[in-house]
């Protein structure tokens, strides 16, 4: 929708102010977009790396668990793992990446170290599976932090890009057009006035001479 305006000087100076704000906003938004993309790329690279490592280590832990299940009865496995260890915590802070709020997570392992079950009736393979999984936890939390940051940044980049485009291709051209129209109209009025004055002067002159 085009901007509606009255062809007056007041309106033109108001539109000029809006144009300068829009241009400054456009420049800032563009800078923000570029910097967010730069940071996003470092985060997403880290994300990919972490994801690959987690998938690798998780497969190892799962393989150990499968072996453990083969050496123990399903009931024994269930029994060994039915009483959970003291719950693990994450320390949560919120950070900012270019005004986007992102989580900062730190893993706080459960207070009880060691295995949450007795040695009787459980196998060494289960110990190793549990240990592998516990070692994986800090990595998993880091992955959670990085992946969430990537999600949020991707959304933010999309939003900023839309704003940049809206300013660049809609708002700024419309304002420029409006200012141009008003200045044309004002010039036309000015010319009209001048011609009228000249005409009147001529008429007066011819009247005097006559």
């Amino acid at each position: 929708m085009a901007i509606s305006y009255k062809p007056t000087r007041m309106e033109m100076s108001r539109l000029k102010k809006r144009l300068s704000t829009a241009s400054r906003g456009h420049k800032l938004m563009k800078d923000k977009r570029d910097e967010t993309v730069r940071r996003f790329i470092t985060y997403v690279r880290r994300n990919k790396e972490l994801r690959q490592r987690v998938e690798e280590l998780m497969s190892e832990a799962m393989a150990s668990f499968v072996v453990a299940k083969a050496t123990m009865t399903p009931a024994a496995v269930e029994e060994a793992l039915c009483c959970p260890a003291a719950s693990a915590k994450v320390q949560v802070e919120s950070g900012k990446v270019l005004s986007t709020e992102v989580p900062r997570l730190t893993y706080v392992p459960s207070a009880e170290s060691g295995l949450p079950y007795g040695v009787l009736g459980t196998s060494h393979e289960l110990d190793s599976a549990v240990e592998k999984f516990s070692q994986l936890m800090p990595l998993l939390i880091e992955l959670a932090e990085v992946e969430k940051t990537c999600n949020l940044l991707a959304d933010e980049i999309e939003k900023t890009r839309r704003r940049v485009n809206a300013l660049e291709y809609v708002m700024i051209p419309q304002l420029k057009d409006a200012i141009h129209d008003i200045s044309m109209k004002l010039d036309e009025n000015e010319r009209g006035n001048l011609t009228r004055l000249m005409k009147t002067k001529d008429m007066l002159k011819s009247k005097d001479e006559g």
């Binding site: 496995v77 999600n151 991707a154 980049i157």
Partner: protein, 103 residues
């Protein structure tokens, strides 16, 4: 209530219990969505979801995507990675940069 929860099929998430995570056995998409909603209300910070459930519970995943918490993170299940998590990263790159240039 723990800060970290894990949702998935029995074998894949049982190990989480030994590491002190809240473990929920769930393979149905709709019920997983409701579970995620409940956990988010209770203030769980990180929810690990096995990849098959992650795909089924897309509705809840989408809902919490733009909020800082909870972070819903796909993890491979006992059958190994399905590629859903990597596809998610790829989708992020495409969304942000416009082309998949990192993979």
């Amino acid at each position: 209530m723990a800060d970290i929860a894990v949702i998935g099929s029995g074998d894949s998430v049982l190990l989480g219990r030994a590491a002190g995570l809240d473990v929920y056995f769930e393979t149905d998409g709709h019920r997983a969505c409701r579970l995620i909603d409940r956990l988010a209300d209770e203030g769980t910070r990180v929810i690990f979801v096995t990849e098959p459930v992650f795909e089924l519970a897309a509705e809840a995943v989408q809902k919490y995507r733009s909020r800082p918490f909870p972070a819903i993170i796909p993890i491979p299940d006992s059958k190994g990675p399905t590629g859903a998590a990597m596809a998610n990263i790829r989708a992020n790159v495409e969304k942000a940069i416009g082309a998949d240039i990192l993979f």
